[in-house]
Point group: C2
Chain length 243, copies 2
């Protein structure tokens, strides 16, 4: 059944009314009245609909069933990454959205090589990558991509979550698996990962002091664009969202 | 401590003898007699050594300690992928090696768009990517990359492993997590993933008939280059190799 991701759809009185580019999209696919489609509102809900009319500027469909989007994980994962160089941001966004992250933010820290004066300029492109990945993977939301600011800001964002993990490649750490096993019912998880050069020891100390779990993901050194995807996958696995 | 990945090192009588390009490498790093280094033999063993002499053409070091490379997982994962288009192969190789795969092979199947006449030509480049990723992530081996042939050949390779998983995005499937939880002590695992268009139903039927676990990784549709990395990570997590 064709699935549309339409944040702008108007659901009213058991009907879905689609206008503009989205309406054009339905028309291009040559769907005819009587055919079924799924419209996702980009807020986690899928509307199973039957097409009533399809004009170039307006499409109307009857809502048959309203369900929670089955692709949305039961846990909201916020990925916080030290800003990497070049297009590694794009890769992190695309893969983390596919893997199930709900929110992605980048921040500046001690060993960041990339220090854009106005990372805000990139936000539009980053958000577009998240939207494309969300559509492609059948997500029920468009994960927000944002600029978190400095390292301390990232810690503050993380601290608002139920489970807060700081992935670090050296020193005294807890195993990611044991922390996750002990928190399988967590509903919100923050994952902090570093830039190319990793975190400075004082940053790991700070994370520990403010109450984050400083975690290891094993002895293999993961690239800065690989670590977030591996970490999100581990959370999905541990919380029963990979089956 | 500097770590070298030197398949060609000659270990004899408690000494490591390094020649050629590897010797040059030690020299370039300006290591001096008396300094310690780790030499990995690319077969899973790390030799902790103390430099005795460093000439341009030959380096000799005393072996102090021999240990199993701590980055090598306890499970050997063979990744078998339907050949994707373009540089997605490169991505799969790099990320799967980082994530902990021991072996990667590509095969041809019903929905492969890319059908190189001689994929063997690409083998050298693929192997180089695996070697670079192995060095970078501190692996103890260089995972082999190969061309498996046709779909039936991939099934045959998978069938030689203890646990054989076929990742499929529709129909009747087992949850990847429940299969892995029931096989946490598996020492060899095969993971089969599809090309861009996924597998044809008859291919999934074949996999089931020959005894593979047809598995789901959740409702999110993963790109063909993302699925192998997510699957390897799940295996690492389940077998205690992500802590």
């Amino acid at each position: 059944m064709p699935r549309f991701f339409m944040a702008g759809t108007n659901f009213k009185g058991g009907m879905a009314v689609i206008r503009g580019r989205d309406a054009e999209h339905v028309r291009v696919l040559r769907l005819r009245p009587g055919e079924d489609l799924i419209i996702c509102d980009a807020q986690g809900t899928d509307y199973k609909c039957r097409l009533v009319s399809a004009e170039p500027d307006q499409v109307e469909a009857e809502v048959l069933e309203v369900v929670k989007c089955p692709a949305e994980p039961s846990v909201a994962v916020t990925v916080l990454c030290g800003l990497p160089k070049g297009d590694r941001t794009d890769y992190i966004i695309q893969k983390c959205v596919e893997a199930g992250a709900s929110e992605i933010a980048f921040f500046n820290c001690e060993r960041c090589v990339a220090r854009p004066e106005t990372p805000e300029k990139k936000l539009e492109r980053w958000q577009r990558i998240a939207e494309e990945a969300a559509k492609q993977s059948g997500r029920g939301i468009i994960p927000a991509v944002s600029w978190a600011g400095e390292f301390a800001d990232a810690l503050n964002i993380a601290n608002q979550k139920e489970l807060k993990l700081f992935l670090y490649e050296t020193g005294e750490r807890e195993g990611l698996d044991s922390v996750l096993e002990a928190n399988r019912s967590a509903k919100s998880v923050a994952l902090i990962t570093g830039p190319e050069g990793g975190f400075a020891p004082f940053e790991a100390d700070l994370a520990r002091i403010v109450g984050l779990h400083v975690c290891s993901m094993g002895e293999r050194i993961l690239r800065c664009e690989t670590a977030p995807v591996v970490a999100v996958t581990a959370v999905m696995y541990a919380t029963g969202n990979l089956s």
